[in-house]
C-alpha cells in the first residue's frame, strides 16, 4: 500500500496553490489533513500526479465571527473546533457532530474543509453543513471566488460542485441568534468513530412555551449525499415537537432517502435507522431547548 508517484509542492501562498491547480487540473489535489486522501492514495484509489500541501497557508486558517455566521478557514483542524468554546456556543452542531468523528489522532490532522470536499455521504461534518446549509467558499485562479451553499455543494458520493481548479478556502456557518436554540446529532455505527450506517441531525429554536420557531433537519448515510429537508422542517414551525410530530417528520424524511446496501447494513435497515435517529435527534434537541417542558 504505497501511493503511486507524484510531485509534491508546498504552497507558499493561496495564489501559488491556485496556480498549480489551474495548471494541472484533475491531476492535482490539494492536501491538508489528508486523513481520507492519504489512505485512498495508499490503496491507489486516488492517484494525483501533483500534490499541493496547503497546510502552511494562514489564509485558510482564518476565523471570523459575524453576528449571523462564523467563517472557518478550510484547514481549521477538527481538534481545534472541538476545543473552541466560542464555536460551541455559536454553532453547537459542529461540536455535536465532532463527538462522532474518528479518533484523537485523526481529528488532530483532519480539517473541516477536507471532510467536506471528500464528501463521504456517511460522514458527520458534511451532514452538519447540509443541515445548517453552510456556505462553502471556493476559489480558483481564473474563476475567482464563488460561494456555494451546501445544498448545492454535495453532488454524489465523493463528488462535489467544486471544479478541479478550485480550492475550498472557507466555510461560513450560520449562527442562530436568540434563546432556545439547540441541536442534536445521532448516529449508529458498529464501532465508535466509524462512518455511520445512518445518521441524523437537527437544529431547532423553541419559544419559551415550546413552540418551534425555527428548525432544520437532515439525514446522513442514506443517500449519495447528506440530505437536508427544509420543507419538512418548515412544517415543524409553530408546533410543539412531540413524539408524534418527530416521528412523522422522521418518517417523511426517511421516505425520501435512497439508502444503499453494504455488508453492515441493508437499505431497509438504514431507512429504518433514519426514522429512529431523526426522531431521537428532534426529541433530544427539543428536550434540551426546553428542559422544563420535556416529558
Amino acid at each position: 500500500m504505497k501511493a503511486a508517484p507524484f510531485t509534491f509542492h508546498r504552497a507558499e501562498s493561496l495564489d501559488h496553490a491556485l496556480d498549480l491547480l489551474a495548471r494541472h487540473g484533475g491531476d492535482c489535489k490539494p492536501i491538508a489533513g489528508g486523513q481520507s486522501l492519504v489512505p485512498m492514495m495508499a490503496m491507489r484509489l486516488a492517484r494525483p500526479s501533483v500534490l499541493v500541501d496547503i497546510n502552511r497557508l494562514d489564509a485558510l486558517k482564518a476565523r471570523h465571527d459575524a453576528p449571523d455566521h462564523v467563517t472557518l478557514g478550510a484547514i481549521t483542524r477538527q481538534r481545534d473546533m472541538e476545543a473552541d468554546v466560542a464555536l460551541r456556543r455559536s454553532v453547537p452542531l459542529i461540536a455535536e457532530a465532532l463527538r462522532w468523528v474518528g479518533h484523537v489522532q485523526t481529528r488532530n490532522r483532519g480539517t473541516i474543509g477536507g471532510s467536506l470536499v471528500h464528501a463521504d455521504p456517511s460522514a458527520e461534518l458534511p451532514l452538519a453543513a447540509a443541515v445548517l446549509d453552510a456556505t462553502l467558499v471556493l476559489r480558483s485562479q481564473n474563476g475567482g471566488e464563488r460561494r456555494v451553499p451546501a445544498s448545492e455543494f454535495f453532488v454524489a458520493p465523493m463528488f462535489t460542485a467544486a471544479n478541479e481548479a478550485e480550492c475550498l478556502t472557507a466555510v461560513e456557518w450560520p449562527v442562530w441568534a436568540g434563546a432556545g436554540v439547540s441541536c442534536a446529532f445521532e448516529e449508529v455505527a458498529i464501532r465508535h468513530g466509524d462512518f455511520a450506517m445512518a445518521s441524523a441531525a437537527c437544529q431547532i429554536q423553541l419559544d419559551p412555551d415550546g413552540t418551534c420557531r425555527r428548525a432544520t433537519i437532515g439525514l446522513g448515510g442514506v443517500a449519495g449525499t447528506p440530505l437536508a429537508f427544509p420543507d419538512l422542517a418548515q412544517r415543524l414551525i409553530g408546533r410543539r415537537i412531540t413524539a408524534t410530530l418527530a416521528q412523522e417528520a422522521a418518517e417523511e424524511a426517511a421516505a425520501r432517502s435512497e439508502p444503499g446496501t453494504d455488508m453492515h447494513a441493508d437499505a431497509g435497515y438504514r431507512r429504518h435507522l433514519a426514522v429512529v435517529l431523526l426522531r431521537r435527534a428532534l426529541l433530544r434537541a427539543a428536550s434540551a431547548a426546553t428542559p422544563a417542558l420535556a416529558a
Binding site: 490503496m43 449508529v188 458498529i190 464501532r191 465508535h192 455488508m263 441493508d266 435497515y269 435507522l273
Partner: protein
C-alpha cells in the same frame, strides 16, 4: 499445594522491557544490505483460467529485479501438504494455470523498494477466462457444484461421521429432543502485525536464513521440504518478536516464495504483506461453520445425548484447516455429562480465501454451538439456565472423567467456578438490573456460558483425520546452562508472539534452581541449534515449555547436588537444595555454595564424581503428557492432556430500535490450574474475551456472490476497540492438573473459548421477551434488528419452538 517462591507471583514481564522502549525486533525491523522487496499480483476472480501473463512493461520499470509466475517457480518446489489425506489438493505459493479464489497470488514482483514493486505490479497484464465458482459451503456440497479442485473429485476434502456411545438408544429413551442450527461466521485473529518474511541465501554456506513472523509447528522442516533443501540448509531465526498471532501466523507460502526468490536472485528479499494482501490473500481466515445439532434430554434438564453435524468451509486450499474440526473431538461434550454423541464433521472447499488455525483451533465455534443448545433446552423447559447447567456439569468428584469420544479430562471443579463467577457478577443483582431495564421497556439479557478450554497441544487429531499420518509425538524442549561465572541461560526453540515465554521460562527455572528469575537469561535459538519444539499452539507452552524448562533445571540441580555429595563423600540424597546452594540435610553448617559448585563443574574435573560430564548444561525434551496414542477404530482418542475451564457471565442490553448491543457487566470465572505468571494468564484472558466479542458482534470476512471479499480492509473488518470492549472482571480458581510439573494447565486461548457463546446467550436472553432469537454470528445491529422485526406479530409466525 507446594509453596512456590516465584511461580504465581506478580512479576514484570521480561520481554515488555524492550517493547515499551520501542526496542522490540520484529521481522519487519530486520535490515539487510541489498534487501529487495516483493509485491503480489493477485487474482481478481474467484475462479478462472490464467491464459497469459505479460510482464514486459513492468520489467521495464527502473528498480524492478524480477517478475515471477507460478509456471516458472512451482516446478522447483514441492507442494505444501494438506492436513488430511487429499494429495490432489496441491498448493503452491503462486497459482499455476488456474486461480481458485479472488486474492490468490498469481505473480510476484521483486524490486528495490516496495513502492517500486507496487508500481510494477500494476503493469503486469494477466489475461483470465472466468470459470464457474462456488462461495456458499452448502452449495458446494451439492452434486452440481463446480469443483474447486477437479482432480480431487469432490469439494469435500474430509468427512467422517463418528458415533460414540448409544446415541440412538439415548435419543429414543429421552423425554424430549430439540434441534437447531447455528452459524459461526468466518472471522479470524487478525493480528496488528501482518505476516512478514525476510530471507537471505548464502551461496558459500548454502544456508537460507529466515526471519519470519511465525507461530507454526515444524515450520523449518516444511519450508525446507517445499524448497527441496536439506533441513540443515534452512535456518529460521526464532529470536524475532512476533506481533501477535493467536494461531494464524503460519506464512509457509509466503516464506517458500521469499526463500525461493532469495536463492534465485542471490539477494536478500522481504515480503511484508500489506493489510489488503493480508486480509485477502494471506490465507489466515478462520473457521466458517454451519452446525446442525439435536439434543436429547429429560424433564430434569439433563442432556443425555447429542447429534452434531458441522460443515466447515476451509476455502480454496487446505493446510491444517480441516483439523480444526478434529480438536473439538476432545471436548465434544463440553463440561457436561452427555452420555453419547454423533459427530458428523464435514470439511468443504469453496472459492474463498483459505482457512488457517485460529485461537482455540476450532473449539470456540463448537462451544458456541453446544452452549446455544444448553440455553435452548433450558428455555424449552422453562428452567433457569444456570440451574440447568448445574444439573449437567461434570461433578468435581468424577475426575479424571472419560468423555464418550475417548478423552479423559484431567481435573476440574466446574460448579465452583460457576458459583464464583456468579458471586463476582452479583448474579441476583444482575437479575434485578435486567428486570429493571425490562420494566423500562428495554431489551436486556444475561448471558452465561460454561466452556472447556483443552490445553497442552497434542497431535492426536492428525492420525484421527488421516490414518496415513502416524504422528503421535508432540514434544517441546528446553536447554539450561550455567556459565563459568554462574549465570543461568535457558534456550528455547521457537518464536514468541506475545505469550511472554522468556518470562515463563525464567520464572520456572528460577523456581527450580531458587535463583532470582530476573538474573536468568532466556534466548530463542535458531532452528539449526534449537531442540525440537512444536511452537506455541494449543495453549501448550505453560505446560510443555514450562515442563521442559523445569525438567532441564531439575537435571542441573541434580547434577549440582551430586557434585556436592561427592565433595562431602556423602551419599546422593544426603544434600538438599536451599536458595541455590547444596546443604546437608540436618546439618546446615555443611553446605556448598552455588558459585563453588559452578567452579567445580566447569574447572575442577578432579573434583567431579567419576563419569560425570564436565560443565553445566542440561536439556529436557518432553512428550506431551498423555500423548503417544493412536486413535481407536471408532475414532476415540485422548486429544489434549489438560482441561481448563471458563464460565462467562454477561449483562447486555439491546437497543430495540437500532439493534445495537451494549455490554454492562462482564465476569469470567477461570480455572487453568496453577498460574505460573498470573499477569500473563489474565492478560490473555482479557484479550480472548475482546477477541470473542469481535467474533460475536462485528467481525466477519464477508464475500459477495461473485466471491469477492467485501471486508478486506480495517474499514469493514471491524476489530473491537477500547470503546467496544467493556471492563472485565476475572475470578480465578485453581484445580491443579495432576499431569503437569506444577499443576499448571494452558490458558492461551482463554476468554475466546466461552466469550462468543456468552455474549450470544445474553443477546438471546434480551430478545426472548420480544419473541425473537438469533443463531448466527456476528450479531450485528442490522441482524438483531431483522430478528426483532421478524418476531413482531405482524410478520409471519416464527418457526415454532421445538
Amino acid at each position: 499445594m507446594a509453596e512456590f517462591r516465584y511461580i504465581g507471583k506478580r512479576r514484570r514481564a521480561v520481554e515488555h522491557r524492550r517493547f515499551v522502549r520501542g526496542q522490540g525486533r520484529y521481522a519487519a525491523d530486520i535490515q539487510l544490505p541489498g534487501l529487495l522487496h516483493v509485491a503480489i499480483v493477485a487474482s481478481p476472480h474467484a475462479s478462472a483460467r490464467i491464459l497469459s501473463v505479460n510482464a514486459d512493461a513492468a520489467l521495464a520499470l527502473p528498480g524492478v529485479h524480477a517478475i515471477i509466475t507460478g509456471d516458472e517457480m512451482n516446478r522447483e518446489l514441492e507442494p505444501m501438504l494438506p492436513g488430511v489425506d487429499a494429495p490432489a489438493v496441491t498448493r503452491f505459493p503462486l497459482a499455476r494455470g488456474v486461480v481458485r479464489y479472488a486474492g490468490e497470488w498469481v505473480v510476484a514482483v521483486v524490486a528495490e523498494t516496495r513502492a517500486f514493486a507496487e508500481d510494477a505490479a500494476e503493469l503486469v497484464e494477466v489475461e483470465y477466462e472466468q470459470t464457474q465458482h462456488v462461495v456458499d459451503p452448502e452449495a458446494a456440497l451439492l452434486p452440481e457444484a463446480p469443483l474447486v479442485h477437479p482432480a480431487h473429485g469432490s469439494n469435500i476434502i474430509w468427512n467422517r461421521k463418528f458415533t460414540w456411545g448409544p446415541v440412538e438408544e439415548d435419543f429414543a429413551a429421552a423425554e424430549h429432543t430439540l434441534s437447531y442450527r447455528v452459524r459461526w461466521a468466518r472471522s479470524s485473529t487478525v493480528p496488528i502485525e501482518t505476516f512478514v518474511a525476510t530471507c537471505a541465501w548464502n551461496d558459500a554456506t548454502e544456508i537460507l536464513d529466515v526471519w519470519a513472523s511465525i507461530q507454526m509447528p515444524k515450520f523449518p522442516d516444511q519450508l525446507a521440504r517445499a524448497l527441496r533443501l536439506a533441513g540443515n540448509a534452512v535456518r529460521v531465526h526464532y529470536d524475532v518478536d512476533v506481533g501477535g498471532s493467536y494461531g494464524v501466523k503460519r506464512g509457509l507460502k509466503h516464506t517458500v516464495l521469499v526463500g525461493w526468490l532469495a536463492r534465485r536472485l542471490g539477494r536478500p528479499v522481504r515480503f511484508l504483506e500489506d493489510r489488503l494482501e493480508n486480509m485477502r490473500g494471506g490465507d489466515m481466515q478462520g473457521p466458517d461453520r454451519i452446525f446442525e445439532v439435536a439434543m436429547a434430554f429429560g424433564r430434569d434438564g439433563v442432556v443425555r445425548s447429542m447429534k452434531m453435524r458441522a460443515v466447515d468451509d476451509v476455502g480454496a486450499y487446505s493446510g491444517r484447516a480441516p483439523l480444526q474440526l478434529g480438536k473439538p473431538v476432545g471436548a465434544i461434550v463440553g463440561p457436561y455429562i452427555i452420555n453419547s454423541v454423533v459427530y458428523d464433521a464435514v470439511s468443504v472447499m469453496t472459492n474463498k480465501t483459505p482457512q488457517e488455525a485460529v485461537r482455540g483451533f476450532g473449539q470456540s465455534p463448537t462451544n458456541y454451538a453446544i452452549e446455544t443448545g444448553m440455553d435452548k433446552v433450558a428455555r424449552f423447559l422453562g428452567m433457569d439456565r444456570v440451574e440447568m447447567r448445574r444439573r449437567n456439569l461434570i461433578p468435581a468428584d468424577r475426575f479424571p472423567y472419560l468423555i464418550p469420544s475417548g478423552t479423559s479430562y484431567d481435573s476440574g471443579d466446574y460448579a465452583t467456578v460457576l458459583d464464583k463467577a456468579l458471586a463476582a457478577a452479583g448474579h441476583d443483582e444482575l437479575l434485578r438490573q435486567r428486570d429493571a431495564l425490562r420494566a423500562e421497556g428495554k431489551l436486556a439479557g444475561i448471558g452465561v456460558s460454561t466452556c472447556l478450554e483443552p490445553s497442552g497441544g497434542n497431535s492426536s487429531f492428525e492420525p484421527l483425520f488421516n490414518p496415513k499420518n502416524t504422528t503421535t509425538t508432540w514434544m517441546d524442549s528446553c536447554l539450561v546452562r550455567v556459565d563459568l561465572n554462574g549465570a543461568v541461560t535457558a534456550v528455547m526453540g521457537t518464536s514468541t508472539s506475545g505469550q511472554a515465554h522468556e518470562t515463563l521460562v525464567s520464572t520456572v527455572v528460577g523456581e527450580v534452581l531458587r535463583r532470582e528469575p530476573d538474573t536468568i537469561r532466556v534466548i530463542h535459538a535458531d532452528s539449526l541449534n534449537a531442540l525440537p519444539s512444536n511452537s506455541p499452539v494449543g495453549s501448550r507452552m505453560a505446560i510443555m515449555l514450562g515442563g521442559a524448562a523445569a525438567g532441564a533445571a531439575k537435571r542441573i540441580r541434580a547434577k549440582m547436588l551430586a557434585i556436592a555429595a561427592h565433595q562431602f563423600q556423602a551419599p546422593e540424597g544426603a544434600l538438599e537444595w536451599e536458595d541455590g546452594d547444596a546443604v546437608m540435610r540436618g546439618d546446615p553448617s555443611r553446605q556448598i555454595a552455588w558459585s563453588r559448585l559452578v567452579e567445580i563443574a566447569h574447572r575442577e574435573f578432579h573434583n567431579l564424581p567419576e563419569g560425570m560430564e564436565p560443565g553445566l548444561q542440561e536439556k529436557f525434551v518432553w512428550e506431551v503428557p498423555t500423548g503417544g496414542m493412536i486413535p481407536t477404530a471408532d475414532g476415540r482418542v485422548q486429544m489434549y492432556p489438560c482441561h481448563s475451564f471458563e464460565c462467562h457471565i454477561v449483562l447486555a442490553s439491546v437497543d430495540a430500535e437500532t439493534g445495537k448491543v451494549a455490554l454492562h457487566r462482564y465476569v469470567v470465572g477461570h480455572d487453568c490450574g496453577v498460574m505460573i505468571s498470573p499477569d500473563v494468564v489474565h492478560g490473555m484472558t482479557y484479550g480472548g474475551v475482546a477477541h470473542g466479542l469481535g467474533a460475536a458482534l462485528m467481525e466477519k470476512f464477508a464475500f459477495s456472490p461473485e466471491g469477492q471479499l467485501v471486508s478486506g480492509s480495517f474499514m469493514d473488518y471491524l476489530l473491537p476497540s477500547a470503546q467496544e470492549v467493556p471492563s472485565i472482571t476475572i475470578v480465578d480458581h485453581c484445580t491443579p492438573s495432576p499431569l503437569t510439573e506444577f499443576g499448571q494447565k494452558g490458558s492461551g486461548e482463554a476468554g475466546y473459548l466461552g466469550g462468543p457463546a456468552a455474549i450470544a446467550s445474553a443477546i438471546n436472553d434480551a430478545l426472548a421477551p420480544a419473541g425473537a432469537s438469533i443463531d448466527a454470528l456476528p450479531m450485528t445491529p442490522a441482524a438483531i434488528w431483522r430478528a426483532l422485526r421478524e418476531a413482531t406479530p405482524a410478520a409471519p409466525a416464527r418457526e415454532a419452538a421445538e
